[in-house]
């Protein structure tokens, strides 16, 4: 059993991880604004990005409350370096082409659907409440990304090829979504965190069904990259944070 202080510290860390996932993916999706294939899609992707930024604020806000040392949501977002960020790697990969973005969304949205449905049951009331709100958004996100992957996979030869390339490039980043480190295992035991190892089977069934309907192949899965939860990132995150944090850090201590 963890002491109450350790539990609080671990919960804070967990909230930060979930905030990191959200802010990093939100950042990537926001890069589509004014770059979408048509105006309606600029609006829709903007919406999804907004949901993720909102989610990040809730998780960081809760982390700030737990820290109780005057740090704010923005301190967590803007004052930590890449090595301190603990997002899953799949979220930080560049936005890629439209197929890459939608395939990533599908993989992540399907994961989040299962994840949030479990987090709603967390013994931590705040995390459960955030999950309840996010869960509604994610159902909509999944409906969108699923439809997009079907259209792209079963559209033209070019769209099929691009979608397949994206699936192949992203598949190796999905493994770590379903793994737990010691901290998360302890929180799972305490009824606070989600046991993601138990989500994989259902996720695979769902993803395989969608990809197969989209006439896309499941990759052999002979490589896997891991490390997000311990801060071992791809080279992309540093650039993302440099961009995101530039103004905040250039004028230390300011209110915006």
């Amino acid at each position: 059993m963890m002491s109450a202080t350790d539990l609080k510290q671990a919960t804070l860390e967990y909230a930060l991880r979930l905030g990191d996932d959200s802010v990093v993916l939100g950042h990537r999706i926001s890069e589509w604004v004014s770059n979408g294939p048509f105006l309606e899609e600029d609006i829709a992707l903007g919406n999804v990005a907004l949901d993720y930024i909102g989610r990040a604020r809730m998780f960081y806000g809760y982390a700030a409350e737990l820290a109780g040392d005057g740090r704010t949501e923005d301190d967590f977002a803007y004052m930590r370096d890449a090595r301190e960020y603990k997002n899953l790697l799949i979220n930080e990969l560049p936005k890629g082409d439209f197929a890459y973005t939608q395939v990533r969304q599908l993989l992540v949205d399907a994961f989040n659907t299962g994840f949030l449905a479990e987090l709603v049951k967390s013994k931590d009331a705040t995390l459960a409440a955030i999950a309840a709100k996010a869960s509604k958004e994610t159902r909509y996100h999944l409906r969108r990304s699923r439809e997009w992957v079907l259209r792209l996979g079963d559209g033209t030869e070019e769209s099929h090829q691009r979608a397949q390339t994206a699936v192949d490039a992203l598949w190796g980043y999905t493994f770590e979504m379903f793994e737990l480190d010691e901290l998360e295992q302890q929180l799972v035991d305490a009824g606070i965190a989600v046991d993601t190892t138990r989500l994989k089977a259902q996720w695979e069934v769902e993803i395989k069904a969608i990809l197969s309907e989209a006439t896309l192949e499941i990759p052999a899965g002979d490589w896997a990259v891991r490390g997000g939860r311990v801060g071992y990132h791809t080279e992309n995150l540093g650039h993302l944070l440099t961009d995101m944090q530039s103004v905040y850090r250039a004028y230390p201590g300011c209110q915006w």
Binding site: V23, V33, L39, Y251, Q255
Partner: protein, 314 residues
């Protein structure tokens, strides 16, 4: 017995009745409206770029969320306006092509670069502020779909202006560096914002006819004066210096007298010498071309689906 359509049209205009898509209208009225609504739509869409330029760098998560939703609103305005223009018999594809070839214009204000975070405040406050003054008057424009679109757009624009002004307050009342940033953005965007109302009435190519047809309800100079007057106390509250050194209250007119606008600079930017003229269009073309395979995929997918359906039905 039917009335002469042109007389009937003018009767409606004079009676403040709206002209609707299926009503008879003079060709020149239709063309004039298509030009204006289209230009307005393109301005919303191109305007996403200078603001979008700062989404990833917004210095707080709250500001990031607000900016994202604002830019999204602009895209939404573009959509309503494209739809309004479509009721006049032009397609969105034609309008996009006209934008990309330069046959249709967008507001020249978006040819100015957003160089600092302060510019996001200045755009919300001054550029959207100027747009609202114009759009409030367009809520009474004679073409029904356009007038109704404006009512909806005005509500959102006034939220945009407030967020821009609120951002400026945070800067102007913040650190010395932030205040300097606010002043610099005000200095750079104030004059171009005044020019958004268009040339002097005497030199405005479309004004006279547009006023007669009640497409425009107030003249460029009157709208500009309104904006100048409303902006003075806002600058005072921020504690910033007014960029117009000749500004002076005129008791007799009940308005501020102001310094001359540098129209050479205005035409210089319109005519292609702004920092971003080429960049804005290239960006639009690139996104559109890169999206071609996506649009093709939707068409192909839908065709496959409907072919399947009709096979099942047969």
């Amino acid at each position: 017995m039917s009335m002469d359509p042109e007389k009937n049209f003018m009767r409606k205009i004079e009676a403040e009745e709206k002209i609707e898509p299926k009503d008879w209208m003079p060709d020149a009225y239709r063309k004039n409206l298509i030009r204006q609504i289209q230009q307005h739509a393109h301005s919303e869409v191109i305007g996403m770029q200078p603001e979008g330029n700062w989404i990833t760098r917004a210095p707080s998560l709250r500001r990031k969320a607000v900016l994202l939703s604002k830019v999204q609103d602009e895209a939404g305005h573009g959509l309503y306006l494209y739809s309004s223009a479509e009721t006049l018999g032009i397609s969105r594809a034609e309008m996009i092509e006209a934008l990309q070839t330069g046959a249709a214009k967008y507001a020249s204000i978006f040819n100015y670069p957003t160089q600092t975070w302060g510019d996001i405040g200045a755009i919300g406050w001054l550029v959207d502020g100027a747009a609202i003054v114009n759009q409030v008057s367009l809520q009474r424009t004679s073409y029904g779909p356009y007038a109704r679109g404006m009512i909806r757009i005005c509500k959102e624009e006034s939220f945009h202006q407030r967020q821009g002004y609120e951002l400026m307050i945070a800067l102007a009342h913040g650190s010395a560096e932030q205040k300097k940033m606010a002043q610099d953005s005000l200095n750079r965007f104030y004059w171009p914002a005044l020019m958004m109302f268009g040339p002097h009435d005497s030199e405005s190519a479309h004004s006279a006819k547009s006023m007669e047809w009640k497409i425009k309800r107030e003249t460029n100079d009157d709208l500009r004066q309104k904006f100048i007057d409303q902006t003075v106390p806002q600058i005072e509250y921020l504690g910033l210096e007014h960029p117009d050194k000749e500004l002076k209250w005129n008791e007799e007119r009940g308005h501020y007298d102001h310094g001359d606008l540098d129209w050479d600079e205005f035409y210089n930017v319109i005519n292609g010498n702004g920092h971003c003229n080429r960049q804005r269009i290239e960006h639009h073309v690139k996104a559109h071309e890169e999206g071609a395979w996506v649009r093709d995929a939707i068409t192909a997918y839908n065709e496959k689906k409907s072919a399947k359906k009709s096979r099942h039905a047969a």
